[in-house]
């Protein structure tokens, strides 16, 4: 009992788990592929100028010690502003190069450089705010004024200013014709300076879009959080690194070191987006960012920089790891494109962050930070995800609108049909009321008088004809009343009454009425059948019966009722009245009066059939007469032959 109970919920669970596992494997494979691609791309070194212009060996004077070094050089110092390490190198400018402009090109350094040629300072990177950001890989190029250059040996010296939080670094020094160095500089400048500005602009736009989204949809705070993250990111990107203590420098410090706040906001967004409910302990996420902000406000810049290294960098990494897990889970569970895009972006960022960390710890040969740049992948993912959701919502709205239109149309049609039904019902009710009124009138007047005539005529033999006439009048009255009854288009119901009347009529003449419904349902139902159609058909049948009784001396009359299928595939009712009498072509022996009457009767029958749109076929021979009435597929609305 319990075993069966356990097994039952287990089976579907296992079935669900199998594709989940396979999906997980596929997802992890995809992320591994992305990470591998990232690492491969990061391994590629950017193309440099021709090797002949590299100043390969430099003489370094650091903390009073002078020694030759071959860049890239990692300085052990974290702070060196007053006595910065000084690099001195020699380069030759051939005499034939005097016409060309020469430049000094430093592809990468931290944190600032001052370049002097022949002891004349030509560039101080500290004046360039973007170059002061260690997280950007800003290159510098300085054109050497031609008057400074001598033919043959020249000296280039570089002072490396270091203000933390990371140690000093100088990648390489290139001195050569500007046109040879410029392409390499331009490429680096494009990747590390222009592109981040473009992405920051995109981030600003996203901040506005998400902000509007949040304002319009307050019940989705995830958008508000993401908008805040974007806004913080934009502020961070466009603010300058404060070099001195000014009134705004503290605020600048707070904003520039806001990476942990930004990452906390993005993390909260990712959590909410994947269906996580906000908990009070969620504030823990924001603690590192707030601590750093407080340090920026109340401490000095050096403290901020030190804390940044120990709070912000791990916080960013932790956020990325949590996001990677959360987005993976969301992708696997909900299978939506937005989560998948986000997951891929997180993988790219995480890979770059790890590589950055390795280069901070000097485990890489270079020091190109790509984590911030890889954030653009996240921005693209967010934009794409938003657009995807928007498009899907539009499709849903379209689908909904389409369904609504269909439903409204259906409702309209139903309403129309029910209106027609209602009209039909009202018409039938009016007819029924009229019929009831007529019936009462006939009862009280004409009917009673006719019955009296029948009764009176029977008292003396002379009145036999009068009695017959009165009886015929009564019969006709009953027919009129009967045909006004609502029979719901089923002619069989009218024929049922007719059979009774016919049998009563035939009984005194000792004629047998044989009734054969060949098809079980008899005749097809005609919703368009109106009382006047019924009267015409019944009178036509009466006529056929009367002819058989009065003129043909029949002993047996057969009525066949069937439904036939015509050449158009429509059901057509067919009523056949057949007798075993003398037929009409043979004039009765006792004179022509009967023949004339019969002829008039035949004309009447054809007339009635035509008015109902029915076909009448008469076959008569001395073996008997057959009247075959084929009903129309649809009874005509108006009495066409009446005029």
């Amino acid at each position: 009992m319990s075993a069966a109970g356990d097994a039952q919920p287990d089976a579907p669970h296992r079935e669900r788990q199998r594709p989940l596992t396979s999906r997980l494997v596929r997802y992890l494979l995809l992320q591994a592929l992305i990470a591998a691609a990232c690492i491969f791309a990061l391994q590629q070194s950017l193309p440099g100028p021709p090797a002949e212009y590299l100043v390969a060996t430099l003489s370094l004077s650091e903390r009073g010690v002078e020694r030759p070094v071959t860049p890239p050089y990692f300085s052990p110092q974290r702070h060196a502003m007053d006595d910065p390490p000084r690099f001195t190198g020699q380069f030759d400018r051939p005499a034939d190069e005097a016409k060309r402009a020469w430049s000094v090109f430093l592809p990468r350094f931290t944190n600032g450089v001052e370049i002097a040629v022949n002891d004349v300072v030509i560039l101080d990177s500290r004046r360039d705010p973007t170059a002061n950001r260690p997280d950007r890989n800003t290159p510098v190029i300085a054109v050497i004024p031609s008057s400074l250059l001598r033919d043959g040996a020249n000296t280039v010296s570089i002072r490396l200013f270091i203000w933390g939080p990371i140690t000093g670094f100088l990648e390489r020094v290139w001195v050569g014709p500007d046109e040879k160095l410029r392409p390499s500089y331009n490429l680096r400048s494009l990747i590390f300076v222009t592109l981040p500005v473009v992405f920051s602009s995109w981030q600003a736009i996203l901040a506005v879009i998400l902000g509007i989204m949040w304002v319009m949809r307050r019940h989705e705070p995830a958008y508000g959080l993401l908008a805040a993250a974007m806004a913080v990111g934009v502020a961070q990107a466009f603010l300058q690194t404060p070099m001195g203590e000014t009134a705004f420098s503290r605020l600048n410090v707070v904003l520039i070191s806001s990476a942990p706040i930004e990452s906390a906001l993005v993390l909260t967004f990712a959590l909410l987006f994947s269906g996580w409910k906000w908990r009070p302990y969620g504030w823990i996420i924001f603690v590192p960012g707030l601590l750093l902000a407080l340090a920026g406000l109340f401490g000095n810049q050096a403290l901020s920089r030190t804390l940044f290294l120990f709070l912000a960098v791990p916080m960013v990494g932790l956020s990325l790891v949590i996001m990677a897990v959360v987005t993976a889970r969301s992708t696997l569970k909900r299978r939506n494109v937005a989560s998948l895009l986000l997951g891929c972006a997180v993988t790219i960022m995480l890979t770059c962050w790890i590589v950055d960390l390795l280069s901070v710890f000097q485990l890489m040969q270079n020091r190109i930070f790509t984590a911030r740049l890889s954030y653009s992948a996240m921005l693209v993912a967010i934009g794409a995800g938003l657009t995807w959701r928007f498009a899907r919502a539009l499709n849903e709205v379209d689908g909904f609108a389409g369904r609504l239109v269909t439903q409204v149309r259906e409702a309209e049609e139903k309403l129309k049909a029910s209106f027609i039904r209602e009209e039909e019902r009202a018409r039938a009710a009016a007819l029924a009321r009229e019929r009831t009124r007529l019936m009462r009138d006939l009862h009280d007047g004409l009917g009673g008088q006719l019955v009296s005539i029948v009764a009176l005529s029977e008292r003396g033999n002379a009145g036999a004809g009068i009695g017959d006439a009165a009886r015929a009048a009564l019969k006709d009255l009953r027919l009129v009343i009967d045909s006004m009854d609502d029979i719901g288009g089923d002619l069989m119901l009218a024929l049922g009454s007719w059979r009774e009347r016919a049998m009563a009529q035939l009984r005194p003449h000792d004629i047998t009425l044989e009734w054969r419904a060949v098809t079980p349902q008899g005749l097809p139902v005609h919703p368009e059948l109106r009382p006047w159609h019924v009267i015409q058909i019944v009178r036509l049948l009466d006529e056929a019966l009367t002819n058989a009784v009065k003129h043909a001396s029949a002993r047996r009359i057969t009525v066949r009722i069937e439904t036939l299928v015509d050449h158009d595939g429509h059901d057509r009712g067919c009523i056949t009245v057949e007798d075993d009498g003398r037929g009409f072509d043979v004039p009765p022996a006792d004179g022509s009066a009967g023949a004339i009457k019969a002829a008039r009767g035949l004309r009447n029958m054809r007339n009635r059939a035509a008015r109902c749109g029915a076909e009448l076929v008469l076959d008569s021979c001395d073996q008997g007469t057959r009247v075959r009435l084929t009903l129309p597929h649809r009874f005509p609305d108006s009495d066409a032959a009446a005029g």
Partner: protein, 221 residues
């Protein structure tokens, strides 16, 4: 014509139109029935006081009252009496109201004498004649409609699907034999079903009448 050998069957004939009364009386007397005639409701009640007739034939429009009351009284006092309405048109307006108080079918006033006698003979033999138009009226009432249809009140709720099928057959003009073969019944059971239909359409008590009127939405409480 068809004189009966056994003890004459008592028929009470209530009809206010003298010529019609004579002709019906004539037809029945010739067939051997012992006919008592009454022209008014009062006369009819006086006749009933003398003893139960085997058959009551009554017109509905009487000078001093309505035949429906006479049928109801007779039905209550003499449950064994077979009752039939004499109708001019055989219309449901008069016949159905008579059926709901206990009548079984109707007799047309202008019916041929032989048919009159045959109808009464069948009635006495236990057959319950039902016309196609009356059957049609009943089955149309079994079809659900939004509003109560015009005409006399009739409760068809007690009819079984089989009984309704039989009524359909009659309404469409089929004979008992044809109906029996369509519905896979024995031909002999059809008259019994029809008798049941009549009994089920009858409203027995005032309370039941009110109940059924409520059921059909004719009265709102």
């Amino acid at each position: 014509m068809n004189s009966l050998s056994d003890a004459a069957i008592a028929v009470l004939l209530v009809e206010d139109d003298a010529p019609t009364l004579w002709r019906l009386q004539d037809a029945l007397a010739k067939a051997g029935y012992q006919v008592r005639a009454a022209g008014t409701l009062t006369d009819a009640r006086a006749c009933l006081a003398q003893g139960a007739p085997r058959v009551l034939l009554t017109d509905l429009q009487l000078p001093d009252g309505h035949g429906v009351d006479l049928i109801r009284e007779t039905r209550r006092r003499f449950p064994e009496t077979e009752i039939m309405v004499i109708s001019i048109l055989g219309d449901e307006e008069s016949v159905i109201s008579a059926i709901t108080v206990g009548a079984t079918g109707y007799l047309l006033k202008d019916a041929f004498p032989t048919d009159i006698a045959a109808t009464v003979r069948d009635l006495v033999a236990g057959h319950s004649p039902i016309s196609a138009s009356i059957a049609r009226f009943i089955v149309r009432r079994t079809q659900s409609t939004a509003e109560p249809p015009p005409g006399p009140a009739l409760n068809t709720a007690k009819l079984t699907p089989r009984e309704i099928d039989i009524l359909w057959g009659i309404a469409k003009g089929f004979s008992y034999a044809e109906i029996a073969s369509h519905l896979s019944l024995s031909r002999q059971t059809v008259p019994g079903h029809i008798k049941n239909i009549y009994r089920k359409l009858e409203v027995h008590t005032r309370g039941e009448a009110v109940f059924e009127a409520v059921q059909q939405g004719l009265i709102r409480l």
